[in-house]
């Protein structure tokens, strides 16, 4: 175990989030079982008041979770000096088998938590709590992920030993390595560029159509989500290369370093922001005509669509600028 202050901070943060989520789940489960909106009983009143507490707790828990995703990557990046062979976060995360699963879990919980907050926001706008059961069912789904994340994160840090020889981005994200990372890196850059821009344009087209005509919400959400994953793959496959000006360096973490102006944070923030808003739009679709939600969800969805498009636009602009400015030209 490495007693770096940041490691302690992360462990403390995930212990606290885990605790908050568990607490929220306990009352979430009670709400699922005992909720009677028509009743004026004190129990119902008590539960209604609990919903404020749960929303607040989860807002904080998810905010901490989002911050800790970045802190986690940043810490991994900082610790690379302790491990032979590690030159950035890629190597540090590879020190033991928990590093990458934790990263993936954090990203997934980030997306789900974002969707949860969107659903929660819609639900509180309706006076009959129309989404309350769905909301807490979703919470019960997210909670195990958050807890697993915390436990694995602990095991990851507990298993860190300095001097471990690890393989870093150069070998991990090289074309001829088997495995997901290698596969992503091996995606041919030419077609990927086309696919990336096609995905972004399709998302924009679907979004504009949805906001104009109100139809094609599911389509927008699916295309937006696909565009998110395409963008992640593109990041490894070709976007990074332009930032590094190297035709073979596929590492998705080095762009977070100061040498590259920490541009990675802006890229990831816009990408994840757009992804969450796009997925949230889709998550609200089934309820858009349900009772009071008919007046709440459509305007909210329109705003989410705008948010998705703005985030993706910023991301694409950053990518385009770099592609034009970089001396590197990929075949």
């Amino acid at each position: 175990m490495i007693l770096h202050p940041a490691v302690l901070a992360l462990i403390v943060a995930s212990a606290l989030t885990g605790f908050m989520v568990l607490y929220a789940c306990w009352y979430g489960a009670r709400i699922l079982l005992q909720w009677e909106i028509r009743s004026g009983s004190e129990r119902q009143l008590g539960l209604e008041r609990r919903t404020y507490l749960i929303s607040t707790l989860l807002c904080f828990a998810f905010a901490v979770q989002i911050l800790s995703l970045f802190l986690y990557v940043y810490t991994a990046d900082r610790l690379h000096g302790l491990f032979s062979g590690a030159m950035c976060a890629a190597g540090t995360l590879n020190v033991n088998r928990y590093g990458y699963p934790v990263l993936v879990l954090k990203a997934v919980t980030f997306l789900l938590a974002g969707v949860w907050l969107i659903v929660n926001h819609a639900d509180t706008r309706g006076y009959d709590y129309p989404l309350i059961r769905i909301k807490y069912a979703l919470l019960l789904l997210i909670a195990p992920l958050v807890l697993t994340d915390g436990i694995l994160e602990y095991r990851y840090f507990a298993g860190l030993r300095a001097d471990v020889i690890t393989s870093c981005c150069g070998s991990l994200f090289s074309r001829d390595r088997a495995g997901v990372a290698g596969d992503l890196a091996a995606l041919p850059s030419g077609p990927m560029e086309w696919l990336f821009f096609a995905g972004m344009i399709a998302t924009a087209a679907c979004g504009i159509r949805f906001n104009r005509t109100g139809s094609g919400g599911y389509l927008f959400s699916v295309v937006g989500t696909l565009a998110f994953f395409i963008a992640v793959a593109s990041l490894i496959s070709f976007i990074c290369l332009y930032y590094y000006d190297l035709p073979t360096h596929h590492c998705p973490f080095c762009i977070l370093q100061k040498e590259y102006g920490s541009i990675g944070y802006a890229l990831y923030a816009t990408l994840f922001g757009g992804g969450v808003a796009g997925m949230g739009t889709g998550a609200l679709m089934p309820f858009r005509n349900r009772g009071t939600m008919a007046a709440v969800i459509p305007p909210l969805q329109r705003r989410l669509v705008v948010a998705t498009l703005v985030f993706y636009l910023l991301f694409t602009l950053m990518v385009c600028c770099r592609m034009l400015l970089s001396p590197l030209r990929l075949g």
Binding site: G40, E42, Y127
Partner: protein, 242 residues
């Protein structure tokens, strides 16, 4: 218009200390009128006001608000009628803030802040621009002749001045219904009569006023359109008009 249908309110139901504050109360409050609730303390007047004022929910029965123009809640039955009985606290608060103004027995001004801030308090969560609110607050303070105290702390006010500040506060969000609970309990006769004059002017502006009081100056006043007498959580005589 406010309509109560067979409203009952019990506290701690199903426990040994169960207590029924209101039993089977039906009542109609006409708009732009002054209605007085009369009765000894403990007769359920305050509970009735809290139910009408969206501060609490009845145990059973229904409460309907008509023509109140409430945002975010679809009105039923074409005549702009809203049932507030089953609404969650969040929406009750919204209605309370927009539709009702409250004048309390103890004035309930927040100590340590200025008169002006106290008057503006109910408007803070509405997100209205601070400048607009404070201008309106100053106008109200001027209307009630307490504008010179605007910057002083409420602790320094006399009873009558505190009362008028409290009235100004109840009007800041331009409510259509004013609810007053024992407004004259801490005022002498002259100030009590002065209060009734204010009530008259509010009525002239078209506000619905609901006053609970056991002070004859209030319920015998010529400006009161109807007196509802209460005892032991029930209405006696059912909303008789004098």
């Amino acid at each position: 218009m406010i309509e109560l249908l067979r409203v009952t309110k019990s506290f701690h139901p199903g426990k040994s200390n169960q207590f029924t504050a209101l039993q089977d109360v039906s009542l109609t409050v006409e708009p732009a009128r002054v209605t007085a609730l009369k009765g000894p303390s403990g007769s359920g007047k305050t509970t009735l006001l809290t139910l009408i004022g969206c501060m609490a929910r009845p145990t059973s029965g229904r409460i309907l608000l008509r023509g109140a123009g409430i945002r975010g809640i679809p009105a039923g039955a074409g005549n702009g009628e809203v049932e507030i009985t089953g609404l969650p606290e969040r929406f009750l608060t919204g209605i309370r803030r927009e539709t009702f103004g409250f004048i309390f027995q103890h004035f309930n001004l927040v100590k340590g802040i200025t008169v002006l801030e106290n008057v503006m308090l109910p408007a803070y969560p509405t997100g209205e621009r601070c400048g607009a609110v404070s201008q309106r607050a100053m106008e109200l303070l001027a209307l009630f002749n307490v504008a010179r105290h605007a910057a002083s702390r409420v602790d320094r006010l006399s009873g009558g001045e505190a009362q008028r500040v409290a009235i100004a506060r109840s009007l800041i969000n331009r409510p259509s219904i004013i609810v007053a609970d024992e407004p004259t309990a801490h005022l002498d006769t002259r100030l009590s009569r002065e209060f009734m004059q204010i009530v008259r002017s509010l009525k002239a502006e078209g506000k619905t006023i609901l006053v609970a009081s056991h002070d004859p100056i209030v319920y015998d006043s010529p400006f009161v359109d109807s007196v509802v007498e209460m005892r032991d959580g029930r209405i006696l005589g059912g909303g008789a008009t004098p």
